[in-house]
Amino acid sequence: MAADPQLKAKVEELIAENPVLLFMKGTPDAPRCGFSMRVVQVLQALDVQYGAIDVLPALQPLREVTSELSDWQTFPQLYVKGELVGGCDIVEEMLDSGELAELLGVEQPEVEVPEADRILPGGSQTSPPMQLG
């Protein structure tokens, strides 16, 4: 079935307006699918700002739209600078390789530290930052 032209125009507009845009099942705070959750975690690890669209209220119409726009039918879908980068597999692979950080223009995060081991803001200052020069 052909995509709804109005919805397609809206999606094109959103992709153009948001340099980093995630189509996902659920919301970043309450993902409704494990794959969507994993992409949210990647974006959080990279500390980038992104727009998020919950596809569940219009799943089939949006599938038809992204099928026409990007030849891709499944969600999540991450768009960067107007281009589909990929779904969960690709996004995780590109996080690991450093390609995603490069594409987004951010620093590659350090190896993930479990929440409990993170230094709290304003916390321990026992090891002063290294002085250069």
């Binding site: 794959f35 891709w72 980068v85 990929g86 969960c88 597999d89 690709i90 590109m94």
Partner: protein, 75 residues
């Protein structure tokens, strides 16, 4: 229920010479395909995945596959 051997054959037919492995990650409809092909050379990851997906599209459309994880690489 997906036929793993058939899917492997479909990918191999679309990407001659490719090394293909298709495994069931549970339930018969959540699958993982690992594909190594010279034809991926110079393509973005999304385009590599598009080639693999296109090869098995029919099986998505008829509902025999629900989810397919893809890993692509070049030899």
């Amino acid at each position: 229920m997906a036929d793993l051997a058939e899917l492997k054959g479909m990918i191999e037919a679309a990407l001659p010479g490719a090394e293909v492995e298709v495994v069931d990650e549970g339930g018969g409809d959540h699958l993982r395909a690992s594909v190594t092909s010279e034809q991926f050379e110079g393509l973005s990851r999304i385009d590599q995945h598009r080639l693999v997906r296109a090869a098995v599209r029919e099986r998505f459309e008829d509902g025999s596959i629900h989810a397919l994880s893809i890993r692509t690489s070049t030899p």
